[in-house]
């Protein structure tokens, strides 16, 4: 449904998206996971036709987003990161307007407006001006506007940013329900937990590049089921490196004078051994964090930094 090949987008000398390629299929949720500024929104912008790429191609149901933009755009629904609604209109009027922008009219538009209002739980407050809505309600309405025309491809750019936990659960349920109807969903997030809970397959992006890609299972396998041990304190780097190299099945992911990140199989069981080795160097360990293998540990393994940095 979506084919992205060697996508490049620059802002002046800054390369925001650098050779990104992936495919997303119908009825599945494809995630773009990465920290803020990784190039996720720019990638979505290029796929949606908002931004013109400097190189590469984007095809939506076989239609090139640059060469056949109108055909491609008709198949797309976009839910932007920032709420994009008309404050002077009611929820019903907002949905009807965006539905009209995608060519819906008459009884079809009314039917779909009623359906999505019910779907996002705003039917009973549909006639109120949205000025009176909470942030979570506006988020849900933003989502409704993106799906009113029953798009075959739905682009969601961090749709849960800044929402309360209950609204987040609602939105994630809505995303799953869209995929179940056969829609191809592209979902960007910097919340690792969301990506793990929601996505069938995923591309991890950093610095405008895809640094890992695959199904959730494939990506978890890449962590080699190793725990991640992070230590904060004061460390004698060369001395510690030598000590850790003497230990079996341990990989130093990152080492600085104040922080060390280590990947180790059965990390919990080997904690005394590792801490003992480091302690022998005279290190001052102030904080120790042990985490199970997950996308976060994969991201740290690949980039040497946390997803939230």
């Amino acid at each position: 449904m979506i084919e992205v090949r060697d996508l490049v987008k620059k802002y002046g000398s800054v390369v925001a998206v650098d050779g990104v390629s992936f495919d997303a299929a119908a009825g599945s949720i494809f995630g773009l996971l990465g920290p803020n500024g990784a190039g996720k929104s720019t990638t979505i912008g290029c796929i949606s036709g908002l931004l013109r790429p400097h190189a590469g191609t984007v095809r939506v149901l076989g239609h090139d987003i640059v060469g056949a933009s109108t055909k491609a755009k008709k198949e797309l629904g976009v839910v932007p990161q920032e709420i994009a609604l008309y404050e002077d209109l009611s929820a019903r009027e907002n949905i009807a307007y965006w539905g009209g922008a995608y060519g819906l009219s008459g009884p079809d538009l009314k039917r779909r407006t009623d359906e999505v209002l019910a779907l996002v739980g705003l039917a009973d407050r549909a006639k109120e001006p949205i000025k009176k809505y909470s942030g979570g309600m506006k988020r849900r309405l933003n989502f409704a506007c993106g799906i009113v025309h029953e798009p075959k491809v739905l682009l969601l750019d961090e749709p849960t940013v800044g929402v309360d936990p209950q609204s987040r659960v609602n939105i994630l349920d809505l995303v799953r329900s869209q995929a179940q109807t056969g829609t191809c969903v592209l979902y960007t997030t910097h919340y690792m937990e969301e990506a793990e809970a929601l996505c069938d397959s995923l591309a991890i992006v950093d610095g405008g590049k895809v640094i890992a890609q695959g199904t959730m299972r494939e990506l978890r396998q890449r962590t080699e089921e190793r725990d991640l041990l992070r230590l904060n304190g004061q460390f004698d780097v060369p001395h510690i490196e030598k000590k850790l190299h003497d230990l079996d099945h341990i990989e130093i992911i990152q080492i600085h004078e104040t922080q060390i990140t280590i990947a180790a199989g059965q990390g919990g069981n080997r904690l005394p051994e590792i801490l003992g080795a480091i302690g022998e160097t005279g290190a001052d360990i102030r904080e120790t964090t042990l985490s199970q293998p997950n996308l976060e540990s994969l991201f740290i393994k690949l980039t040497g930094k946390e997803l939230r940095e």
């Binding site: 036709g49 908002l50 008709k74 932007p80 008309y86 404050e87 307007y97 965006w98």
Partner: protein
């Protein structure tokens, strides 16, 4: 065409759900009524004193049109300032650009919506001039050409206003720049009169006031039409380019 209609409806409705349409209409009606009364009183006074060559078209209608054409120079920036600036501020422009609607259809829809509100404003002037037909018999042709000139002048201001609104997300900035430019286009006529040579010719040709005078006199000239249409096309084309450039900058 569908999206032009959709945008037109949305924008025209937005004027009436905010104070903009009411404030602009009230100001227009009060000011134009005041000036009409002033011109009318002067005309009646002159007639009663037995002035020779009393001509209602020349003494009342033409100055009235001229005054209204200056008034709209102040009022139309208030009509155009929100068109794109508000979309940018709300973040809806970027989403609109992901729909199948083209940039030109967005520009055209907004242009027609502002033109629609301007047409409603003009109804006030139709009433004023209509009163003269009830109590007298002015020449119809200069009245019709006067209205046409007024409408085209308004369309030029609106097209330029749409362009300037597309350049910023601050409505006040859009209105201030629009007003300054409209005023400059009007004042070129006087500045052109004070200068000489090719500069004078350029200023006189570029000025809206000079071309409007022909319409006020009942003269329909193709060069005046071309002049007005050129400004309108330039404004709308420029606005389309600015909106398109969002795709590179957003």
């Amino acid at each position: 065409m569908r999206s032009v209609w959709l945008i037109f409806q949305r924008e025209f409705q937005a004027y009436w759900t905010s104070p903009v349409a009411y404030v602009v209409l009230a100001m227009f009606l009060i000011l134009s009524g005041f000036f009409f009364f002033g011109e009318f009183s002067r005309f009646v006074d002159f007639s009663q004193r037995g002035g020779s060559g009393v001509d209602v078209n020349q003494m009342l209608i033409r100055p009235y049109f001229y005054t209204v054409s200056v008034m709209i120079l102040f009022l139309l920036p208030l009509v155009t300032m929100r068109l794109f600036a508000e979309e940018r501020r709300q973040g809806t422009l970027e989403v609109l650009l992901t729909t199948p609607a083209t940039e030109f259809s967005l520009v055209l829809g907004k242009f027609f919506a502002a033109l629609g509100l301007f047409a409603v404003m003009m109804l006030g002037s139709v009433v004023h001039i209509g009163l003269l037909f009830i109590f007298g018999s002015p020449d119809l042709a200069p009245v019709l050409t006067g209205f046409l000139g007024l409408f085209l002048t308004g369309a030029v201001y609106i097209a330029i206003g749409v362009l300037l609104s597309s350049l910023t997300q601050n409505q006040v900035v859009a209105a201030a720049i629009s007003f300054s430019l409209f005023l400059a286009l009007w004042l070129f006529y006087w500045i052109g009169g004070l200068t000489s040579g090719s500069l004078s010719k350029v200023l006189l040709y570029t000025s809206l006031a000079g071309h409007f005078e022909n319409f006020g006199r009942g003269v329909l000239s193709s060069s005046d039409f071309v002049f007005y249409l050129s400004w309108i096309v330039a404004g709308l084309f420029g606005a389309t380019q600015v909106v398109q450039s969002t795709r590179w900058k957003a």
